[in-house]
């Protein structure tokens, strides 16, 4: 197996509030391998977005980020100076946000926003070159009539086209890793399928790694090589995407799978996970999923370490290690 390009160990992110510290990310270990598509799955509040904001140094004070290491191609991102971090961010690791309408600047045309990114990273000296690159990028993400669309403003584009435009901005400097945070949540299923296919296609053509942050395991099963399932600020299961979805080992993963509406079997009931994610200001000391879990036993009251297996790991004392 190849060495990971991104290696996160012991990542903690806390946000002090009047009522206590919200420990949004609480001991996350993650690897992203070269050229792979990693799915990061979990419900709202599981810490998946904050994990990657912290990786990119985008957690603003009073948020506190600590980690044993966040290593990008052998460099520790935590030790970089602000200017060095800016050179990594956008050029080597790019991020697309969930809502393209709020992520894109509404008063600048798409072309200007791509040009801005290229100019900020000093990628092309002349504005003619930058314009040519912008046209090339819009073409790459499948926007028809790219030269004309450079002048379009975000509001003039449909949801799917806007998502494509944001991906074009993110890809402007040819990153080695693209983190796509919920790229399809606001979209119709038909457009969702188009955007996911585009991302997979771009990963293969550009030879980059892709992290797909989503709450839908079905998307992971279709588009990712590996998956990390997050719950309550921790990774609770990792493994090959198809195996994790077809034979989940953590009860939470199993619950997520049972929540997916399917058209394959009409008689299949959707079985929701009862209850809610616990309070992030006071995570339980034992298994964080225990009070929603149908298999709870006495051992669950003790802290659950990640149990490594041959093809990943699981944070559950009841899962039989394979």
């Amino acid at each position: 197996m190849t060495d990971p390009v991104l290696r996160i160990r012991g990542l903690h992110v806390g946000f002090p509030t009047d009522t206590g510290i919200v420990r949004a990310v609480d001991g996350v270990d993650l690897d992203v391998l070269a050229g792979e598509c990693l799915g990061v799955v979990g419900e709202s509040g599981s810490g998946k977005t904050v994990t990657f904001l912290a990786t990119l140094g985008l957690v603003a004070p009073p948020g506190v980020v600590t980690a044993e290491t966040i290593s990008w191609k052998g460099r520790d991102l935590l030790k970089l100076r602000a200017a060095e971090m800016r050179a990594v961010r956008g050029r080597e690791i790019a991020l697309t946000m969930q809502d393209a309408l709020t992520a894109l600047n509404p008063v600048l045309s798409i072309g200007t926003q791509i040009d801005e990114t290229l100019a900020a990273h000093g990628a092309y000296r002349s504005s003619t070159d930058r314009r040519a690159r912008a046209v090339e990028l819009l073409q790459l993400v499948g926007i028809p009539e790219p030269a004309r669309r450079l002048r379009a403003y975000p509001y003039e584009l449909s949801g799917g086209m806007r998502q494509r435009a944001m991906i074009a901005v993110a890809l402007a400097c040819g990153p080695d890793l693209l983190i796509a945070d919920e790229p399809t949540t606001a979209l119709d299923v038909t457009v969702q399928a188009q955007v996911l296919e585009l991302l997979g296609d771009l990963r293969a053509r550009l030879g980059m790694s892709l992290v797909l942050v989503t709450h839908n395991l079905a998307i992971v099963a279709e588009h990712c090589d590996r998956v990390a399932v997050m719950y309550a600020g921790q990774v609770v299961e990792t493994g090959p995407a198809v195996r994790v979805v077809s034979a989940p080992r953590h009860p939470y993963t199993a619950g997520l799978v049972a929540s997916i509406p399917t058209v394959d079997r009409l008689d299949a009931e959707i079985v929701p996970i009862p209850g809610r994610i616990p309070d992030p200001r006071a995570w339980p000391t034992g298994c964080r999923f225990a009070d929603r879990c149908g298999y709870r036993a006495d051992d669950c009251a003790t802290p659950q370490p990640m149990r490594p297996a041959t093809d990943g790991g699981v944070r559950c004392c009841l899962a039989d290690a394979a």
Partner: protein
Amino acid sequence: MSVETSSRTTPAQRQEAPSVPLLELSSVTKDFLIRRTLVGSMFGVPRRRIRAVDSVDLAVAPGECLGLIGESGCGKSTLGRLALRLLEPTAGTVRFDGVDLAALSPGALAALRPRMQIIFQDPYASLNPRRNVEQIVGLPLALHTRLPPRERRERVVEALDWIGLGAEHLHRYPHQFSGGQRQRIGIARALVTHPALVVCDEPVSALDVSIQAQVLALLKRLRREFGLAYLFISHDIAVVAHLSERIAVMYLGRIVESGTTRDIVIAPRHPYTQALLSAVPHATRSTRARIRLSGDPPSPIDPPSGCAFHQRCPYAVAICRTERPVLAPAATGHAVACHLAATN
């Protein structure tokens, strides 16, 4: 007026003849006028029209769930609002319980409102942030009944109980709740008047898969308990199939296929329905053949000639570009508007 609904009869107990649909839309059309530019209005340029809904026939039986699916902009939300007469149709009739809604006086229409309610898509935008739960859920009762405050509060607490909240939540505000809980509050507001019909306009598409599953299970249970009829609008055919007995597929303002859920999901005949089905991500790798739609739906301002779907259809032939297919029902009730489906 017969708006006093304090008796605890549920719609299921109010036996209706099964032959009379609870909701019936006949040839319903809705045009919207597009705003002219100032120069255009000075020079008398005629205002252009968008036909959002085009000659739609639909019926929902008492206690039935009809799923309505289609992409953004196909007119499905407009249709939902027409069904409740929150919008007036340009042509066609909407009957609720056999009564033509257009023939009713404003007072008589208001008297019907408690029996036809709506749940909205966005749990953040659809609850007034400055009202507490008691005011939000109690509003339909305040509008439509003359219940004294104490009984009104009892009814609100009862409705909160249905959705898994309690009296301790009465004085909280929307911002104190999660997205899933807010959507539940919207459901309680719709059900507090004991409606017979609820239009569910994308009620779960803003929610995480896990929360979506909880809300779907809740909607299913409440429907069974109260004998509710749903017009369930969504862009996700898997969500719709989970709840509905019948499904209608909408494209650019028209119904292009309708039938039982089994017909639509197992044996879809319209290429558009087939494409919608193959867009659903599968947890288990599926053997179903992929049909990927390219591009976005065409603009209703300038609809294509012939079949509205022909530009995106992988099977389009000459006739599809010139002649619009009609919705042809088969003996089984499975209807499809496609030139090619009719021949094979």
